[in-house]
Amino acid sequence: MDICEGSSLELDGERAVAEAVAGWTGAPDLVLVFSSPVRSAEGVARSLATRFPAAQIVGCTTAGEHLSGAHSNGGLVVTGISSPKLRWATALIEDLAAVDDAGVRATVDSLFERLGIDRTSFDARRYFCLQFIDGMSGAEERVTPLVADALDGIALIGGSAGDDLAFRRTEVIHGARAHSGAAVLALCESGLEFQCLKHQHFVTTARTLAITKADVASRRVYELDGEPAAHVYARVLGVTRDQLVGQLVFEHPLTFRYQHELYVRSIQQIHPDDSISFYCAIEEGMVVEIGAHEELVPALDADLAKLAGDTPVDLLIGSNCILRALETKARDQHAEVGALFKQRCRHMIGFDTYGEQLDGLHINQTLVALALRDRPEAA
């Protein structure tokens, strides 16, 4: 597997791409690109497509970027992959608001067809699918399961596009175009060994709350335990309403259990009317717990060590929750986190997301990543 990578802080898409890919040799099969909305996503896509006309290009806008140990805000990171052991097919799901089961299945069918996958007899373990989806569409919870269903057991992993916490417009990149209200899929037939990583650094506590008033569509909770949500949240944390800012909030997401599994509901915003917006679906009657915080760096180190074993993975493609990024920034741990990635991965590309997807579920406060290894025996 040949990997080229580069980054840029240039504000102009064309110039940023030029800087990032300077010195690349060869023609990649797939180009992964994550770019802050400070520059035109459309310009980035067009510039990449011009430079790599044979490559398939996928990516999205971000709330932060990762590249092989370095983290940026306002940057552009790009990685080119070429390997005879990887075959790629990419497709766009347009108009997330309207797409239904049949539409998603048709898109996935087109990917299957291009890779010659016979639904009746294929071995799902040889495939994975990357998904980048508009993070402001609110459609992740509806569309992701449809994609996962259509993939018939193929691993689905990805993230929601960000816009540097502006919460105005997020876009995905497919080929020479950037699209809002859309998702991009990259299905891969892999002759290489691959693994999915799901890393969280939260545990639950015994403190429970019931969501008693909420607007499900906007993922906004008005009341917890029958009282204004922000007040109740502050009370259980032992702080005043005014102290509900920044790191305290990142470190105490709400969680809930289903079938003994813990699911995180991260807080996006605390509004002046004491309501709380979440990055993930909520509903009335849901009993949530207050999450407890683990130290981010040691927890990540442990999970990456478990993933990599004795030899670093060749490429890690990650979607890191924006709240984890904010916590890392608040604790000034980007360098430490970057060092961990560098230690465990020969190459890493990723972005800070407004949500993560893993196997049909839209989740929060998580790092999901796909690890590829080019071991000779995996050929």
């Binding site: 269903d149 008693t212 679906a281």
Partner: protein
């Protein structure tokens, strides 16, 4: 008051909470209401389904791995076996380059050819070839590498046999190895040790012969007696300086030996009968060969050359009849009866002979024998019957055409031997539906032998046909071990003459030939001598 309000507010909140939770519980009990639960449940089901599929795939893959491992083990075992065979048993492989030198070889070649100096050596000496054989081999190799003719043709020109220095009989089979451009890069020679195979084939042929002889033991006993008496006749002729008569006897011995499948004996005679002067030693050698065969197979055939195979066994009933005879005529009649034997016992095994000759001459012939069960006077007919093989051989060799040349005529060709009693005579007819006698060729040969051309020009077609009885005259251009010496027809004519009979040839160009023999049924000693027939028929 504020505490009261606080408690009141908290109580209302608790009440709202309880209401919401109640609604939720009711919804859950009624199977709906929670999108999140639905989504998570789908994910759980999906995961379970994926796990099930993965397990299925793993099972299938594990089965494939096991199957593949078993196959590999089988292939490995077969490869080992093959290698053992290739290296140690009867086959060897040689790769020969355009320079006629050995490029590569399997270990077994060393043993087969009896030399380990093979790498880079010229092929011909490795095969133990003489200089002439080496030249032939090199020319044939050259032709293969030239690649101008189809490979199967050029490969067929390569010598197929060699004798290894270890004395083994080796068979060689070539295959062309082509380069990526398509030219002949090398020849792969498969060398097989056929020593055991040839021995087995010889043994098999021998057993087949013995079985055949046992089936026709009566005929074979007659053959042996005839053979010995012909040998005696040949000796007498040599003593009387009648080389011609001796040669004719030897020729008949050869023909009859061939008819019974005694090919070694026939081949020996074939090699000896061309000697400028037949002498008693030649006859001894021929007789000795038959004697050796009979001795070697005495346990099975029960025939000894020292017996008197021609003697007649008499049953007690026949002895009683003899005792009852009251006159010389009665005794003569008794003797006549005793001598009567079925025609089939007198005939040589023509079925086998016709099959073998047909195969050798590439002709399809069906033999029909009529009157095989007719009881005839053996003394009278046996001398003629033993010469009948000449007529049959001539019919197949010269008369009957190959299938391609038969035009509209039926295939297989018909050859009929019919023995019957006609009045006071036995009639023996040998008839074929071949091309007839080539009188033009006969006339040409006759002229070459000194017959005046003018004499021939006045002859009719039928009279020209009778030239077949002239000693040494044949329509054949070449002498083969089947026929072609021009001796056979004169030999049967002589036998017929001796029996007091006549022989005629009726030929129809393109339609066939009919040889008609008539012999008086009464033995010469028991009848008044018949007047000689006249005309062109030969008679005694």
């Amino acid at each position: 008051m504020s505490d009261d309000r606080d408690w009141k507010a908290r109580a209302l909140a608790a009440e709202r909470t309880v209401d919401v939770l109640k609604r939720k519980v009711v919804d859950l009990y009624n199977g709906g209401g929670s999108n999140i639960q639905h989504t998570l449940e789908r994910a759980r089901v999906r995961e379970a389904e994926s796990r099930r599929r993965r397990e299925l795939v793993e099972l299938r893959n594990a089965e494939l791995v096991r199957y593949s491992a078993r196959l590999e083990a089988e292939v490995a075992a077969r490869t080992r076996d093959l290698q053992v065979i290739l290296d140690n048993v009867v086959f060897g492989f040689l790769v020969v380059g355009p320079d006629a030198k050995i490029r590569g070889f399997t270990r077994s070649c060393v043993e087969l050819l009896g030399t380990d100096q093979l790498a880079g050596s010229p092929l011909a000496p490795a095969l133990g070839y003489t200089a002439t054989q080496a030249t032939t081999l090199e020319l044939a190799l050259e032709q293969v590498f030239d690649d101008l003719l189809p490979a199967e043709l050029t490969l067929d020109q390569l010598p197929h046999a060699a004798i290894g220095s270890s004395g083994r009989s080796l068979r060689l089979d070539g295959r062309v190895i082509r380069s990526t451009e398509g030219g002949v890069d090398a020849i792969l020679l498969t060398i097989s040790d056929v020593t055991a195979l040839e021995a087995a084939q010889r043994e098999n042929a021998h057993y087949r012969l013995i079985v055949q002889l046992l089936r026709q033991r009566d005929s074979f006993v007659t053959f042996v007696a005839d053979f010995l008496s012909l040998a005696a006749a040949a000796r007498e002729a040599i003593a009387a300086s009648d080389q011609h008569l001796a040669r004719r006897a030897v020729h008949t011995m050869k023909g009859n030996a061939g008819c019974f499948g005694l090919t070694d004996l026939a081949t020996l005679i074939h090699g000896l009968e061309d000697s400028p002067n037949l002498d008693p030693q030649v006859i001894d050698r021929i007789e000795g060969e038959l004697a050796a065969f009979l001795t070697a197979n005495f346990d099975v055939l029960g025939i000894s050359p020292n017996d008197h195979p021609g003697r007649i066994a008499i049953s007690s009933r026949e002895l009683e009849s003899l005792a009852a005879a009251t006159s010389l005529a009665g005794v003569a009649g008794w003797i006549h009866d005793i001598r009567r034997r079925p025609v089939r016992a007198l005939l040589t095994p023509f079925e086998d002979m016709v099959r073998r000759l047909g195969e050798r001459c590439d002709k399809r012939v069906e033999l029909v024998v009529e009157g095989g069960e007719l009881r005839v006077d053996g003394e009278t007919l046996a001398p003629i019957m033993r010469e009948l093989g000449h007529v049959v051989r001539n019919a197949i060799d010269h008369g009957i055409e190959t299938s391609e040349d038969r035009g509209d005529k039926p295939i297989p060709a018909q050859l009929c031997i019919r023995v019957s009693e006609v009045g006071a005579d036995y009639e023996i007819v040998v008839e074929d539906d071949g091309r007839g006698v080539d009188v033009a060729m006969l006339a040409k040969k006759a002229i070459a032998m000194g017959v005046p051309e003018a004499d021939l020009s006045t002859r009719t077609y039928d009279q020209l046909v009778d030239l077949v009885f002239v000693d040494g005259l044949t329509t054949s251009g070449t002498v083969t071990d089947v026929s072609g010496r021009g001796v056979g027809m004169s030999a049967i004519a002589a036998a017929v003459r001796r029996g007091g009979g006549s022989i005629r040839v009726h030929s129809r160009p393109g339609r066939g030939t009919r040889i008609e023999i008539r012999v008086p049924r009464t033995p010469p000693g028991f009848r008044a001598r018949r007047p000689s027939q006249t005309g062109l028929a030969y008679s005694g």
